[in-house]
């Protein structure tokens, strides 16, 4: 078949710029400056400074994911109930921020939360004491929820749209309360969307360095900041790669979860 040859450029490109680069991270992460094989770069995650950053990242991204889920599920249910149809403008405006530059969205929050920012300006205008909002863990969580909420809404909404109305009506006819229908019908049937949403929020939140940089100041370091600094400032690429390998374990777990619960790609964001 000649048609299969058309995949040639694509395969060469992807091997050259996706597969080999990923292998290189492993090579760098598992060797030292002299090229000797070592696990030191990976074990470096257990030093207090790095372990603290990883733990804080896990903590903040977990909290953000839970908040996103709690905000997104009711939203997706309401949107589905309105029966406006996928691809409608109303659904679109809830998903839209997803495609917008998250650097700019974070910048927007920075100007709101800053010491001389908009929120404190309003508080002063109302003769209320100004608050210190920026450079806190709370500001980072807010930034994460704001940036990644649409990634939770879309997959859940897509899955909810596929649930047959008759199943819901049958449950209600048989006397199930709202909460019973939610617990035994809605949630079990939307697991693929929920899992996909969770990973879509958790992975970028766990690996971010921009949000923590702009909203957390220089004192709060997440694992993403540590890795970024190793590459752009500290220039110990071996250590940075080793820490990235640790991070990739979490990414792989998410990919495995998606593969297990979302076999048909129902919850894909695209």
């Amino acid at each position: 078949m000649r048609r299969k040859l058309l995949a040639g450029p694509y395969l060469i490109w992807m091997i050259g710029f996706i597969i080999i680069p990923l292998v290189l991270i492993a090579v760098y992460g598992l060797t030292d400056k002299n090229g000797a094989v070592t696990l030191a770069n990976v074990i470096a995650i257990s030093t207090p400074e790095h372990a603290k950053a990883l733990w804080l990242s896990l903590e903040l991204s977990f909290v953000s994911t839970v908040i996103c889920l709690l905000l997104a599920y009711p939203l997706a249910m309401i949107l589905r109930k309105r029966n406006i149809g996928r691809g409608s403008f109303i659904v679109f405006i809830f998903i839209l921020p997803m495609w917008m530059n998250f650097l700019l969205r974070t910048l927007a929050w920075q100007s709101l939360l800053e010491k001389n920012g908009v929120i404190n300006g309003i508080l002063t205008f109302l003769h209320l004491p100004p608050q210190s909002l920026i450079n806190t863990a709370g500001a980072i969580v807010l930034g994460m929820v704001y940036n990644f909420l649409p990634f939770m809404v879309l997959p859940i909404y897509n899955v909810l749209c596929k649930i047959d109305d008759n199943i819901i009506n049958a449950a209600r006819d048989l006397g199930a309360s709202f909460w019973q229908t939610l617990l035994f019908i809605w949630i079990p049937l939307s697991v693929p969307g929920i899992i996909s949403g969770i990973t879509m929020v958790f992975v970028p939140a766990l690996t971010t360095f921009v949000i923590s940089n702009l909203l957390g100041g220089s004192k709060i370091l997440l694992i993403g900041n540590v890795i970024e600094q190793e590459f752009t400032r500290g220039s110990n690429w071996h250590l940075g790669s080793g820490l990235s390998l640790v991070l990739m374990v979490f990414i792989l777990i998410s990919m495995a979860l998606i593969a297990k619960y979302d076999k048909n790609g129902e919850g894909t964001t695209f």
Binding site: R3, I18, L22, I78, L96, M100, Q110, L112
Partner: protein, 265 residues
């Protein structure tokens, strides 16, 4: 009583929708308002002014970054569209196993964290001896754009009728001619929306560009990042506003273009 309860529920739901909308759009709106603020301060309104826009258009570094961003977005989207469309046609004609493997590779950059993709590309460029700069940003953008094209074109290809292509061949068309006259018109909406999506993604990227750009070259995103870390300049608000408006327009076109049929899959 029941009607009243329904009514209250409806109002409560609307209230929730509006709250989320405010949460999503108020920060962006604030940024846009600030870009017209005559005062440098963020908590005082100094009257309506276009001075930050004027400052922005006067700045050589911003204009250079704008040019880089547009050239990279356009070229990377074009190359990605060609490679991605060709790959889609090949993948579509494959058997189950190679198809799964190919789609798996396609999914790697989409599921992987941007920071890892960025770092891995940076390491590869340096290992291959390619010095970081315009070229490497372009290669990186093509790399993460190809999957978007494939995922746009594949659904369209699945809908096309294989027999039409074979019929054209039977009637004496060369494969290239049959593709151009029969297959391409069918998948054109997918190719176009893939191109626009790739263009938007390239325009919007920060993290991967941050790691692959090297010193001395900036795109709009990286320029904003370095300026903001040095202290906010209102001209960055003006720039952000323009980027928001452009991306918004592009997204509305890709999603609501009249030739794109709504598909349920």
């Amino acid at each position: 009583m029941k009607i009243l309860k329904k009514r209250i529920q409806y109002i409560a739901e609307n209230f929730y929708l509006v709250l989320i909308l405010i949460f999503l759009y108020a920060p962006i709106a604030t940024l846009m308002v600030l870009s017209f603020n005559g005062s440098r301060s963020r908590n005082q309104w100094g009257g309506f002014s276009l001075q930050w826009y004027a400052e922005m258009f006067d700045s050589a570094s911003i204009m250079a970054a704008l040019q880089n961003t547009l050239v990279i977005a356009l070229v990377s989207a074009l190359v990605a569209t060609v490679i991605g469309t060709a790959a889609s046609i090949a993948i579509n004609s494959m058997r189950q196993l190679p198809k799964t493997i190919m789609m798996g590779i396609t999914n790697i950059p989409m599921l992987n964290a941007d920071i890892v993709t960025g770092i891995s590309l940076m390491l590869a460029f340096i290992a291959f001896g390619i010095s970081l700069g315009f070229k490497t940003i372009l290669i990186a953008h093509i790399t993460f754009n190809i999957p978007y094209v494939i995922l746009s074109v594949m659904p369209k290809l699945k809908q096309t009728n294989q027999s039409a292509y074979e019929a054209a061949m039977d009637l004496g068309a060369t494969p290239a001619y049959a593709f151009y006259k029969v297959v391409l018109p069918d998948i054109m909406p997918g190719v176009l929306s893939g191109f626009l999506l790739a263009f938007t993604m390239s325009l919007d990227d920060f993290i991967i560009t941050h790691f692959t750009k090297g010193a001395g070259i900036n795109t709009l995103s990286t320029l904003i990042y370095s300026e903001v870390r040095r202290g906010i300049k209102p001209s960055m608000y003006a720039l952000s506003t323009i980027i928001f408006v452009v991306v918004l327009t592009l997204l509305i076109i890709t999603n609501f273009a009249p030739n794109r049929k709504k598909e349920e899959h």
